[in-house]
């Protein structure tokens, strides 16, 4: 594996994520917090985000399946997801949550279901992309290289 090629691939890939608004400035902030003492910080936080999000998505699905939907509860879950996605810079997930909350306020079931679908799509997207990015980083590190800034 050509190290320089890998590094270039990573830089370009990262740039595309920002360009497509999958990630925003907050993700950069997180990367800047990582250091030699805590070289897996970003991966750890992102993993927490994945766990948390999956739990919330399941809760949301269940809550919206109820006969009598508790919109306050649905909203609380969406609020949490919005918060954690904002904290790691997953901008598209965060934005889809904003729309979701509006439908919760209106108590619009159809709207909520459509939003849940959209949030799932955005979440899968950021998960796939971040996992691929981490994979590239690992390949670079295993080849003895360093991660370009």
């Amino acid at each position: 594996m050509d190290l320089v090629k890998l590094q270039r691939q990573l830089v370009d890939y990262r740039a595309s994520l920002y360009h497509e608004c999958v990630l925003d400035e907050q993700f950069t902030q997180l990367q800047q917090l990582q250091d030699e003492n805590n070289p897996d910080f970003v991966v750890e936080v992102v993993s927490l985000f994945f766990e948390d999000s999956e739990r919330l998505l399941n809760e949301l699905t269940k809550a919206l399946e109820q006969q009598s939907i508790d919109f306050k509860r649905v909203d609380a879950h969406v609020h949490q997801l919005k918060g954690s996605s904002s904290s790691i810079g997953a901008q598209r997930v965060q934005k889809s949550c904003i729309a979701f909350r509006n439908y919760c306020e209106e108590q619009n079931v159809e709207g909520c279901l459509a939003c849940l679908q959209q949030v799932r799509i955005e979440y899968s997207l950021v998960k796939t992309k971040l996992e691929y990015m981490f994979q590239l980083e690992q390949q670079i590190l295993s080849s003895g290289g360093s991660i370009p800034i």
Binding site: Q29, L33, F41, L48, F49, D52, H79, Q80, I88
Partner: protein
């Protein structure tokens, strides 16, 4: 209470001990990192109830936390299930033991009435999430400055002196309202300035997050 204060003020550059309260795992991890980078000791808990328990406000061990360290700063999320950050703030400010501890509220929602209520209840500052390293560094630096001032004066602080100290040390043009004297602090700040969304005063750190 005096004993707890002396534990930290006896040495020269003591690490601040910050109690972080947030129901989100992700946010707890991030705030913990931000605080560690800013050279603070951190205790992160997931709820207001746990925070009170840690402080011993629920009838526990008095003003020393479970690990025996005095808490110098509390940073709490606003929206939490059970007890909100606002409710936690009130409980702390109504406690004779803990009301001197500065409390910072963090929220993803930039709502003026919310900010106002928090500041009126004695919050040191209101930060809009996601919290940045620069926010944490500034906050903790101000805390250290305040702590050193208190230490020199043996716990009794002349409010004017504190304002002058903070005025020269902080980059803000507005003197910070000391949280050690709650009867002065926020009342003074509120009457000084009109609050508007674009106004970036120290007492309400709003960020445009549209």
């Amino acid at each position: 209470m005096e004993v707890a204060g002396e534990v930290l003020q006896s040495g020269s550059s003591q690490e601040l001990h910050v109690l972080a309260v947030d129901d989100s795992y992700v946010d707890r991890k991030v705030i913990e990192k931000l605080l560690k980078i800013s050279s603070c000791k951190v205790t992160a808990v997931e709820s207001g109830a746990r925070a009170l328990q840690f402080l011993g406000l629920d009838g526990g061990k008095g003003s020393l936390g479970f690990n025996g360290l005095k808490v110098n700063l509390i940073m709490t999320d606003y929206s939490m299930p059970g007890m909100t950050g606002y409710e936690l703030l009130k409980k702390i400010k109504r406690s004779s033991t803990f009301r001197e501890i500065p409390v910072v509220i963090m929220s993803s929602e930039n709502i003026l009435t919310r900010i106002d209520s928090c500041l009126e209840e004695g919050a040191e500052e209101f930060l809009v999430k996601p919290v940045k390293l620069s926010d944490v560094k500034r906050l903790t630096k101000d805390c250290v400055t305040r702590g050193e001032t208190e230490g020199k004066d043996g716990g009794r602080v002349d409010k004017r002196k504190l304002e002058d100290d903070n005025h020269t040390s902080s980059s803000s043009s507005i003197p910070s309202s000391p949280s050690t004297t709650t009867s002065f602090g926020c009342g003074l700040a509120t009457s000084e300035l009109p609050l508007s969304p674009m106004h970036s005063s120290k007492r309400a750190k709003l960020r445009d997050r549209d």
